[in-house]
């Protein structure tokens, strides 16, 4: 098992380097950079070119892109993500607490998605073809079709502006509720549908009939016998969803003024502040790969039939 984890961890290195390489290629193709964005229009043409030349040299932007890539990779391997061009602060410091905020939001949303998705899926499956089933599946259809940013604005309008239950701008736990609900409820929808269909399948199996024939209470039948068997497909989807939650957080953060790396990335892209963009990409990609690793390990725990290939 530990060699498996180690191998998977080592595999993340080429993945991350590949992603970085692609971003450097894109960067080379994009006209203008942070220095130009900062100085153009602020100075006379002559002063601007002078200042731009000094700053470009300072941040190594005057070298060919592959040289920049090599020295950036070298820096990353020694734990140095460089300096933001716009704020002149170390990238690691800029990302710092924002990364924690994004993780908080992602996991809060994941809890919402998992709870709402699995509960409503199981209920819908158990009460198949009743009004409960139809209602929850209709609602989840809305969830799948609704763009997250729109749902977010509706929530702000209803919960904060009309009902005045929560503040619009708040950094503490109160500020986490609405973005986590927005993101979580949207992602709960596909989970609910998958949970329902795999539960319907599990509930139709022979061992369920056998359990009922033995006179087991319904709660045990559903939760101990059917649910664990339905869990595998739910976990597969949930694992993929953590990734999309992490990505979805980027848009949601801007709408709710939640100060995470998504908001930072959006700002950095607008300013062409590539060292920040690269830092965010690096951190996000690594996080994504690690989450997938955790999900794969969870598989073996949920379903003992899945064994890690020792070869």
């Amino acid at each position: 098992m530990s060699t498996y984890i180690l191998r998977r961890l080592l595999l993340t290195v080429p993945v991350v380097i590949g992603i970085l390489f692609t971003t450097f290629l894109i960067k080379a193709a994009i006209p203008s950079d942070a220095v130009v964005t900062m100085y153009q229009g602020q100075l006379s043409e002559q002063d601007a070119s002078k200042a731009i030349a000094i700053m470009r040299h300072k941040y190594g932007l005057d070298r060919p892109w592959y040289m920049q890539f090599l020295s950036y990779t070298e820096g990353v391997l020694t734990g140095n993500l460089g300096q933001s061009i716009r704020t002149r602060q170390p990238v690691i410091k800029e990302i710092g607490y924002r990364y924690r905020n994004t993780l908080e939001l992602t996991f809060a949303a994941f809890l919402v998605a998992l709870t709402v998705g699995v509960v409503s899926g199981v209920v819908a499956a158990y009460f198949k073809d009743t009004w409960l089933d139809i209602t929850s599946m209709t609602v989840s259809l809305f969830g799948i079709s609704m763009p997250a940013f729109f749902f977010g604005l509706v929530l702000i309008m209803v919960v904060s502006v009309w009902l005045r239950w929560l503040p619009v701008i708040e950094n503490g736990w109160q500020g986490l509720i609405l973005p986590a609900l927005t993101l979580g409820l949207i992602e709960a929808a596909p989970l609910a549908r998958v949970a329902r269909s795999s539960m319907v399948e599990a509930l139709g199996r022979d061992y369920i009939r056998a359990a009922r024939a033995k006179g087991m209470p319904e709660s045990v039948v559903v939760l101990r016998h059917a649910l664990p068997n339905a869990l595998l497909s739910i976990v597969t989807l949930a694992g993929l969803q953590i990734g999309s939650l992490f990505g979805g957080a980027f848009i949601i953060e801007v709408i709710f003024s939640w100060h995470g790396i998504g908001e930072l990335a959006v700002e950095a892209i607008q300013w062409r502040d590539f060292t920040i963009t690269q830092g965010v990409i690096l951190i996000s990609a690594t996080t994504y790969v690690l989450i997938n690793l955790v999900v794969d390990i969870l598989y073996t725990w949920i379903d003992p039939r899945i064994v890690v290939d020792k070869s």
């Binding site: 229009g41 002063d47 003024s257």
Partner: protein
């Protein structure tokens, strides 16, 4: 949304206030202001952005002079000044006893320190143009500074009134080094407490504040409010909602949300029309078509400014007919009324015919085989600009001129104007001094696309050497006249600043340059 900087695009700072739960030790309310973006630094030497200027200038730092209600420079941290006979030397006497927040003295060395930092090439400071042909800075005694310029530099007084030329504690700059931009120390009414990047900046009342010497401030003592919290809210819609819930008791309003607040008795609305921005159309005079002043004049008559005011700014803007924005000292209403060329499609048509443009197949104008098809460039990401472009395109179509529109991000658009691959561009500029005319329109123009016009160039050069404000304003009046006669650019509009506050907010007043005077703001007792 790219939020731009001081002399270029839209003002990015909106202001808001909210009464926070009072802490036992606090006297007076906490004011919460909105920031439309996170400032990149709070060391003014490193940035010319409006957001940076508003955070520092309104609260933390102070300068030698401020502009009074009439736009004239008045002593602030300077006690007095004198200008030498050749107009090249300005000597300031500083007020004694002024202290920085860290307890060190504000003195001539602190002034010199700031200008030296701007001139240091390693800082690549974007503030270099603000100091013009500054040649030497001497400190004869701790309360005297003498600026010597290579030639007279009239914009200097306006520039000294801007937050970029306000003063930092040299001790603090040395102490914090590279991270000084996260720990600003000045002499202002509020002291820096903390900055949670991307989220908020906290300030507290400076208990040792010197008497307020500004004539435009109502409160001459320490500021009323105990704390100021600056919250970063990027989305305009979210700021509007926070205003509705009372979390912000004031915020500036973008055109599309003004109607939600302007007629609501729950808010006070402040409309500042004395603003220094100008939206204008300019020409690539490297191309023969645009060297003909009749064509340029026709463009001024062609544009329906009132339609753009409505479409782009929901009516909260004023059509501009002169090249200097209405809020800049020296704006001459008489010259503009006499020489301005307002919307008049018939006159536009006549001028184009006079210039040799004849209708061809499909009504498209032609001249010597050249079809009237032109490329208009502008910058992307601003609804107001997109709508203005659409109106201009349709106005030109009415004349038989076919305009292709192309917008791209500022960092791509602006440098691209240096190339000769465009015909006209729509640009917007904000700057509080008449020197903006020279910077933009004196040949070769800010983008090398303006041909020399001896009349324009000589007037502009003269205006920049007149240190006496009234003489200079007369000169700027002449400059507006020659620029209009040549129609070097086509002025379009000036948009207003609109701010809504909750109705219990008192003393919310803007200075001549549109900055808040924070020490005056307080809340009515309920």
């Amino acid at each position: 949304m790219l939020r731009r900087t001081l002399i270029s695009l839209a003002p990015s700072l909106a202001l808001g206030l909210v009464e926070a739960p009072a802490r036992a030790a606090d006297a007076g309310p906490t004011l919460t202001f909105r920031l439309g973006e996170d400032p990149e630094t709070l060391y003014n030497v490193q940035s010319i952005s409006l957001t940076v200027a508003e955070v520092l200038g309104d609260q933390i730092l102070e300068g030698l002079v401020y502009l009074d209600r009439k736009g004239l420079p008045q002593p602030w941290l300077a006690q007095s000044w004198s200008v030498s006979d050749d107009q090249k030397e300005i000597t300031f006497k500083l007020r004694p006893g002024v202290k920085f927040h860290d307890g060190t003295d504000f003195n001539a060395d602190a002034v010199k320190f700031h200008f030296t930092a701007i001139q240091d090439p390693q800082n690549a400071s974007p503030l270099l143009p603000l100091i013009g042909p500054l040649h030497a800075l001497d400190v004869p005694d701790p309360l005297t500074v003498r600026f010597t310029f290579a030639k007279p530099f009239a914009p200097f007084f306006t520039n000294l009134s801007l937050a970029q030329l306000y003063f930092n504690s040299p001790t603090a700059v040395a102490k914090y080094g590279k991270t000084y931009g996260r720990h600003p120390v000045g002499t202002g009414p509020y002291r820096f407490v903390s900055w949670n990047p991307g989220a908020e900046i906290d300030l507290e009342r400076n208990p040792d504040y010197h008497p307020q010497w500004r004539s435009d401030a109502e409160n001459k003592g320490a500021p009323y409010a105990a704390r100021i919290v600056l919250r970063v809210i990027e989305e305009d819609g979210v700021a509007a909602e926070a205003l509705e819930t009372g979390e912000l008791t004031a915020s500036n309003l973008t055109a599309d949300i003004i109607p939600r607040f302007v007629h609501d008795p729950g808010y006070k609305v402040i409309i500042n029309k004395n603003v220094t921005n100008l939206l204008f159309l300019e020409f690539n005079e490297r191309r023969p078509t645009f060297q003909d002043f009749r064509f340029r004049q026709a463009m001024s008559y062609a544009i329906n400014r009132e339609a753009i005011v409505q479409a782009s700014w929901s009516g909260y803007a004023a059509p501009a007919l002169g090249p200097l924005a209405v809020g800049i000292p020296g704006y001459d209403a008489g010259v503009v009324a006499k020489y301005g060329m307002p919307y008049d499609p018939a006159k536009a048509k006549a001028l184009l015919a006079d210039a040799g443009w004849k209708p061809g197949p499909g009504g498209l104008l032609e001249k010597n085989g050249q079809k009237a098809r032109f490329l208009i460039k502008s910058y992307a990401g601003f609804t107001a600009i997109d709508r203005a472009l659409a109106v201009i395109q349709s106005n030109l179509k009415d004349l038989g001129v076919d305009a292709t529109l192309q917008t791209s991000d500022w960092g791509v658009f602006y440098p691209s104007l240096l190339r000769d691959d465009w015909d006209m561009d729509l640009d917007r500029w904000t700057w509080p001094d008449g020197a903006v005319l020279t910077q933009l329109f004196r040949s070769p123009g800010h983008r090398n696309s303006t041909l020399p016009d001896p009349k324009v160039d000589s007037v502009l050069d003269r205006c920049n050497t007149l240190m006496e404000p009234t003489q200079r304003n007369v000169c700027l009046g002449e400059a507006q006249q020659v620029l209009l006669q040549a129609m070097t650019i086509v002025p379009i509009l000036t948009n207003w600043t609109v701010i809504a506050t909750q109705k219990n907010v008192l003393g919310y007043d803007l200075d001549f340059e549109g900055g808040l005077i924070p020490g005056d703001v307080h809340l009515a007792k309920t």
